[in-house]
């Protein structure tokens, strides 16, 4: 755990553990609903840590990605589209 409460994941071999997003999030990780805080934490951690959102986990080291968990699909849009006039 880091000073900001994030879980540090240093190797791609740990990917099966981070697949359990609920576990990662329960340890104080950040969600996409708070992107400013997420970005601040990313910078504070000297870009050696991970993004954890509700749909993905992305690891960066020195600005380079080293870990990824594929995002789930987003939701179906519920607001009805407007017919485009010819």
């Amino acid at each position: 755990m880091t000073a900001t409460g994030q879980t540090q994941i240093r190797t791609p071999e740990l990917a099966p553990e981070v697949m359990d997003l609920r576990r990662v999030q329960s340890q104080g990780a950040l969600s996409a609903s708070d992107p400013n805080r997420l970005m601040a934490a990313y910078l504070e951690l000297d870009q050696h840590d991970i993004y954890v959102t509700s749909r993905s986990v992305l690891g960066f080291r020195d600005g380079q990605r080293f870990l990824e968990v594929i995002s789930r699909q987003g939701p179906q849009l519920v607001d009805p589209p407007i017919t485009i006039e010819a």
């Binding site: 996409a32 992107p35 990313y42 990824e68 485009i84």
Partner: protein
């Protein structure tokens, strides 16, 4: 999308959407007074539809304009285009739909239809449908956009449960990069 205090929803009964015609002086006039706010990111959106899109020699975006039916005022617009980009989740460059610009005029921010749907949300649904229906699109093609990190209202709009764009990293300057993977 701009910032500012939450306002009472304004009821706008009817809005028409069509494609922007770059060869039309009427459409250029329609866009001339567009104003989505004075913040830096809002000014950039207004400047796009007032000036930048009309510059000669550009590879034009697919641009939809939403027009308030009663007065004929420009309620908002959305512009998209296909781009090939690198994404953290993908080993090879992939084609995405980039939402280049999306804005609602200051006077229509928060405006709703008779059923309570926000016109901004409906306009985005329209843009996404239009992009996905394009012959060069594929069902699993991600949507990508950049949003100023200071633009709290815009970030709420894009990352809300309704759309669920994900912040996947920093963009240039103050921009955050967001991606949405649509359901197939």
């Amino acid at each position: 999308m701009g910032g500012g205090a939450e306002e009472q929803p304004r009821l706008v009964p009817d809005v028409r959407v069509r494609r922007l015609r770059l060869d039309s002086e009427d459409d250029k006039t329609l866009c001339e007074g567009f104003d989505c706010g004075q913040e830096e990111w809002e000014h950039q959106v207004s400047d796009f539809i007032i000036r930048k899109i009309w510059l000669p020699g550009r590879d034009p975006e697919h641009t939809l304009v939403a027009i308030e039916a009663e007065a004929g005022a420009l309620l908002g617009f959305g512009a998209w285009k296909h781009q090939t980009v690198e994404l953290p989740q993908r080993p090879e460059p992939v084609a995405v739909v980039r939402v280049c610009y999306f804005g609602v005029a200051l006077e229509f921010k928060g405006a709703v239809d008779a059923d309570g749907h926000k016109w901004a949300s409906r306009l985005y649904s329209t843009l996404e449908d239009d992009a996905r229906a394009h012959e060069s699109s594929t069902p699993d093609m991600p949507f990508e956009l950049f949003c100023d990190r200071r633009n709290e209202r815009g970030l709420r709009f894009w990352t809300s449960e309704a759309r669920a764009f994900e912040v996947i990293g920093p963009g240039a300057l103050e921009l955050l990069r967001l991606v949405r993977v649509p359901p197939t």
